[in-house]
């Protein structure tokens, strides 16, 4: 059964239709990748799914429930968490506090919001530390963000999403700007998360996509042009044309 589904989803910015009639179903427990050339509308699709933008038309269903038009802060509470393409963290905070903020948001209760000391929430802290451990940053929990490397910031980006204890994880180019070595580490990480979460992955690096995905959807100029298993996508002539601009087709 599809846990996340879109029906004829479109988003227009003036004359540009960034997402054009996308109907997509993400099966629970799978890792579903969305690929496509730059400007294909992948990130806009994420923005629609997470409530950052409202769609111009079409509907979004999460776990059978219509969530179209739900604001971003409420989508997070439903169990849909995202990471960002550009590192989007809380720069003045320690790693732990970065993750803590996300863990608290989706925690069971906000009791003591105004009065209890923030460091007196052992269960939130435990979940935050677990999320940091999941991405391999547990030993740097107390470090300030500006003292860790770009690669580690990408891992932190992921930890913030994980700390919300989501049911579906939307990862927007988690390996953006990483060295081959760091990329390898991140791929191992994503692979380890596979199965624990339903994952929707946007990525450019083909080798990553082909090795980790269960399903792949291909976007081009805002529309879905193909969907299938990695092997099917590799053979698809239309996908080759979109990527190679028709030259080799």
């Amino acid at each position: 059964m599809a846990i996340l589904e879109t029906k004829n989803l479109s988003k227009a910015f003036g004359a540009l239709t960034a997402v054009d009639g996308v109907s997509l179903g993400i099966e629970a427990g799978t890792l579903h990748s969305i690929i496509g050339p730059n400007g294909a509308g992948k990130t806009t699709l994420f923005n629609l799914l997470t409530g950052t933008c409202r769609p111009s038309s079409g509907r979004i269903f999460f776990d059978g429930r219509d969530i179209t038009g739900t604001p971003a802060h409420r989508v997070a509470h439903l169990g849909l968490a995202r990471s960002f393409q550009r590192t989007n963290v809380f720069p003045a905070f320690s790693l732990l506090d970065n993750v803590w903020v996300a863990a608290f948001a989706c925690g069971p209760s906000w009791k003591g919001l105004l009065w209890r000391r923030a460091d007196r929430y052992p269960e939130v802290r435990a979940r935050a530390l677990a999320a940091l451990a999941d991405v391999g940053l547990a030993d740097k929990a107390e470090w300030p963000v500006r003292e860790i490397s770009h690669g580690e910031q990408r891992q932190l980006e992921l930890a913030i999403a994980l700390a919300a204890a989501p049911r579906v994880l939307l990862l927007d180019e988690p390996a953006a700007g990483l060295s081959p070595e760091e990329t390898k580490r991140l791929v191992a990480l994503v692979r380890a998360l596979k199965g624990r979460y339903t994952i929707v992955l946007i990525e450019h690096k083909m080798d990553i996509i082909m090795s980790v995905s269960d399903r792949i959807s291909v976007m081009h100029f805002g529309s879905l042009i193909a969907e299938g298993s990695p092997a099917e996508i590799q053979r698809n002539p239309e996908v080759r044309r979109a990527y190679l601009g028709g030259v080799a087709a």
Binding site: T52, H73, R74, F84, V89, V101, L114, R116, D119, A163
Partner: protein, 308 residues
């Protein structure tokens, strides 16, 4: 006890000995006002140029009730806190719809709106003449008309306010507000209704401003029109920045510097705001964290120097 607490208690004890009690009272009142602003400016990253709206409204309403209905001190304080919070809820609701420069201009414009209401509504506010004749009712047989008992009262309320603010900034709410300051988009994405949290910061800040407003009215026995004017809004921003907006104690130090300069130097030299201007330029250019940062940098420089 921690170092800050001891220093603060010492200051509370010593201040009325070295300054006139009225000026000492004014310092703590202005510090309460600064604490409220700093929740917005330092913790949430919202520059409100309209804090006098809440300060002045509370001073007028509570002053009116004190003057015409003879309410007791605590009812007056409660009224001030309530009026401050309520006016901040109203203004904040409108302002948090926008961000950046538009936000700042909205806080300023709404402040002007309140100012002109006070200016025109002379039958109540006295307009340009202010609202004089505000009493300081006695409490439990303590005569607050004497400056020293009133100072004790004000400084106790200041310490209480500081303690409450400390609890707030160390609570999850405080951390969420800082997260909003650091990255609004991400705060929204992890599940916080950013506009609601900003409004909460406004209301809490407004309550502090309201408390300061009533204490101010009772201190001088008058609500001058300037209490609700943009100069007052600017002064509290100014004082907080000089003290250091990034820390809990910054506005307190700022208030001390600001009031002390304005009360002592102003009698010697009419152009004293010039000094403040210089101080402000130095802070903005070299010590963005105000006096608090300058102090901690001085100490780390001292301790890093090799001993000879």
């Amino acid at each position: 006890m921690k170092k800050e607490t001891i220093l603060l208690l010492a200051a509370v004890l010593v201040l009325p000995l070295v300054l006139r009690p009225a000026i000492a009272s004014e310092i703590w009142i202005f510090a309460i006002f600064g604490l409220g602003l700093n929740l917005l400016l330092g913790y949430t990253g919202l520059l409100s140029f309209g804090q006098a709206t809440f300060f002045g409204s509370a001073a007028y309403v509570a002053g009116w009730l004190l003057k015409h209905y003879g309410i007791d001190v605590f009812l007056a304080l409660g009224t001030g806190v309530f009026v401050g919070a309520a006016s901040a809820a109203l203004v904040g609701y409108l302002c948090v719809q926008r961000s950046g420069l538009y936000f700042i201009m909205l806080t300023f414009a709404l402040n002007q709106l309140f100012y002109f209401v006070a200016y025109q509504w002379t039958s109540v506010t006295g307009g340009e003449d202010g609202m004089p004749g505000i009493p300081r009712p006695a409490f439990l047989g303590i005569d607050f008309r004497e400056p020293l008992p009133y100072y004790v009262f004000v400084s106790a309320l200041f310490l209480l306010s500081l303690w409450i603010m400390k609890r707030i900034v160390e609570s999850p709410l405080g951390r969420i507000l800082q997260a909003i300051r650091e990255n609004e988009v991400r705060a929204e994405a992890v599940g916080y209704d950013v506009a609601r949290f900003k409004l909460a910061a406004f209301v809490i800040g407004g309550a502090f401003s309201g408390l300061a407003g009533v204490l101010y009215a009772m201190l001088f026995g008058i609500v001058p029109l300037e209490a609700i004017g943009f100069v007052t809004s600017g002064n509290v921003v100014f004082a907080t920045l000089i003290g250091g907006s990034g820390s809990l104690y910054g506005p307190i130090i700022g208030s001390f510097v600001f009031i002390w300069l304005s009360e002592s130097v102003s009698t010697l030299w009419a152009r004293w705001p010039l000094l403040l201007g210089v101080a402000f330029v130095i802070v903005v250019l070299f010590f963005r964290g105000g006096v608090v940062e300058a102090w901690s940098r001085f100490w780390s420089w001292r301790s890093s120097k090799p001993k000879t």
